[in-house]
């Protein structure tokens, strides 16, 4: 019969790429000939000619299925997005139009739109089935919830069958029109994170242990010529006649590099609908970035994962804008893991070369594997004090989940034991609250 039957069946799990056609037999009439023969045999045995008539009907359907050929699928698709740029959580209506561009009837055509992995459908269905005469068009629409990132729609999967439905042809068609949805969240100024004691020569808000100008009292020392008059302890001078100079704790700016763990192992969430640890890390990094910039610190940004992103520490409005767009749309911070090889050792060495000598590191990681613990300790040992902000992605539904939760807690403790600061950030908790809770155990 048709060529399609001679060829090997394509794997049912395989999806067609644009321009390719996969033909599959659906076997939907399997057994009809056997049942017909049974009816015929029964008719002969019992001498009931009417049963032979039944058999003929069965054979007719079997023959109809056998005569099936894959339909000639030529369709044009266009997709329209209500808006191509949206804020997070905004519902966006997507309308897809399919037109039969061939010259034969398509009695059964099924379409599945290639919704980007990171977008959730919140209304309607991105799938439809219809019948199309030549030249006719059909439309379906659905609503997605925008999520951070630059999302590209995949080609639409088209499945077509003839009238008998015995053979299915699958193909994929790229839709014309809109195929991208960009969603850039605003960078809110978040709560400040207390920084570690490594500072630069610039004035800032990190209170150091050295004396000088400032607000917090540090020490009193002997007057030296040239000390500013305002800092002379005049009461003491009046009482004893000796001059002494007040020292305050110097307030200095820090250089901070925010490092987001974007390895595949960091894409974890307590349940399917919850934001992943990477998602929460990126949001927290964005807040911290702005709040650090506003206090005069120099801030850099990096992704520790495939597609390593690096923004050297800097300051200013342009720097802030660069970080905002990177966190929103750069592939390194994508809401779904990238399928690229990643060599953590290599990346760690490169990171160490890039880090300015006076930089401290804030690492955002769910701490769900041991490598990241080693990496944090190594960075700390190289002289870049590390603070770990760890969004907790664990659940306690099953024994395995509970085990993973305990392992993560142990990793937190191990980091704390060697002097790193760890902020354990539970889902649903405000980052500021988590920082305040963690701060209680920090000293100096």
């Amino acid at each position: 019969m048709s060529e399609a039957r001679g060829r090997d069946e394509p794997d049912p799990g395989r999806r067609a790429t644009p321009g390719e056609t996969l033909d599959r037999e659906t076997h939907r009439w399997r057994g009809v000939n056997a049942l017909s023969l049974a009816a015929g045999a029964l008719g002969v045995l019992l001498g009931q000619p009417a049963l032979l008539l039944v058999a003929v009907v069965g054979v007719a359907f079997g023959g109809f299925a056998l005569a099936a050929r894959p339909p000639d699928v030529r369709v044009e698709l266009s997709r329209e997005l209500e808006r191509t740029a949206a804020g997070p959580e905004e519902p966006i209506r997507v309308t897809v139009t399919v037109r039969n561009a061939g010259d034969s009837l398509l009695p059964d055509i099924r379409l599945v739109d290639g919704v980007p992995d990171a977008l959730d459908v919140v209304g309607g269905s991105p799938r439809t089935a219809t019948a199309l005469r030549p030249g006719k068009a059909a439309t379906f629409s659905y609503t997605v919830r925008a999520a951070r990132g630059d999302h590209e729609f995949d080609p639409v999967t088209v499945l077509a069958r003839g009238f008998s439905g015995a053979i299915e042809r699958e193909t994929a068609v790229r839709a014309r029109g809109d195929d991208r949805l960009a969603c850039t969240p605003r960078l809110d100024v978040g709560d400040p994170l207390p920084l570690r004691g490594l500072t630069t020569g610039y004035t800032g808000r990190v209170v150091t242990d050295t004396g000088g100008p400032g607000t917090e009292f540090h020490a009193v020392r002997e007057y030296r010529p040239g000390d500013p008059l305002s800092r002379i302890d005049w009461k003491r001078a009046a009482r004893t006649g000796e001059y002494a100079t007040l020292e305050f704790r110097r307030e200095r700016a820090a250089t901070v590099v925010l490092l987001v763990d974007t390895r595949e192992t960091a894409y974890l969430a307590p349940d399917a609908d919850a934001p992943s640890a990477v998602e929460r890390s990126v949001a927290a990094a964005g807040e911290l970035f702005t709040s650090l910039l506003s206090t005069g610190d120099r801030v850099g940004l990096g992704a520790f994962g495939p597609g390593a992103y690096w923004l050297a520490p800097g300051a200013g409005e342009g720097h802030r804008a660069r970080a905002r767009s990177a966190l929103a749309t750069d592939g390194a911070f994508a809401p779904t893991p990238r399928e690229e090889p990643f060599f953590p050792g290599l990346e760690l060495r490169r990171l160490r070369r890039r880090l300015p000598a006076d930089a401290q590191v804030v690492l955002f990681s769910p701490l769900c594997d041991d490598y990241v613990v080693r990496a944090a300790r190594r960075l700390d040992a190289y002289g870049h004090p590390v603070t770990v902000v760890s969004p907790d992605p664990t659940a306690d539904g099953s024994a395995g989940e509970t085990l993973a939760r305990i392992e993560r807690r142990l990793r937190c403790s191990r980091l704390r034991e060697v002097g790193l600061r760890v902020v354990d950030w539970r889902p649903g908790e405000h980052l500021g609250a988590a920082v305040a809770a963690a701060q209680a155990r920090w000293s100096g």
Partner: protein, 213 residues
């Protein structure tokens, strides 16, 4: 029956996030519970709308259509009492299976309808009624298989009525042509030996198999 249709619903946003022992993968799936009426362009005010997932049950249209055709098949078996019982149980299984999305039950239901036809034939139902019952059973099978495959690939939430109605119309046409032709032949050669008719049928099937190979 519809068992062989294995094409999985293609991945409209199948979960892609990695899974670990401790946490579920991230990423939403496609399809919907209710048609998203009234969601046009409203920015989320308070609670974010729930993510809707693929509901792989056959659609209500398909279930109703298969039930209706199946009913015709059972009613035409009415001349033979035991046949109606077998066919009726089959019809019930068919409708419940489609409603719940239980493929196995759907297959059993179709088998029940066909067994009903065989029993009715064995008990001597007139050829006119029997052939209508057989054709209706075949159409019910086809409509049910269509509904199941649409459920798997497109889901209950999507609009599939047109595809189902067109398909049902197509197979009804095939059934009508087959019944008419078979009945005419049957009337013409009526009175001949049953065995001759059976051999003719066997020949047709063998021919079809050879062509297929």
């Amino acid at each position: 029956m519809s068992r062989g249709e294995r094409t999985e619903p293609p991945g409209a946003g199948e979960p892609t996030g990695s899974t670990a022992t401790d946490a579920t993968g991230v990423g939403g799936d496609g399809t919907a519970g209710r048609p998203g009426e009234g969601e046009r362009g409203e920015p989320t005010g308070g609670a974010a709308p729930e993510t809707v997932r693929l509901d792989p049950r056959p659609s209500e249209t398909g279930t109703a259509l298969a039930g209706l055709v199946g009913l015709v098949a059972v009613v035409t078996q009415a001349a033979a009492g035991p046949a109606v019982v077998v066919g009726g149980v089959g019809l019930l299984a068919l409708v419940v299976g489609l409603g719940r999305g239980a493929d196995r039950l759907v297959s059993l239901g179709v088998l029940g309808l066909i067994l009903g036809v065989l029993v009715a034939g064995a008990l001597g139902t007139p050829a006119e009624l029997l052939v209508v019952s057989a054709a209706a059973s075949a159409v019910a099978w086809d409509v049910a298989a269509q509904a199941v495959s649409l459920g798997e690939q497109v889901g209950r939430a999507a609009d599939t009525a047109r595809a189902e109605l067109v398909h049902a119309a197509g197979s009804t046409l095939v059934a009508t042509v087959a019944v008419t032709a078979a009945y005419l032949v049957f009337r013409t050669v009526a009175g001949g030996p049953v065995l001759a008719l059976a051999l003719l049928l066997l020949g047709a099937i063998l021919l079809a198999s050879v062509l297929r190979g």
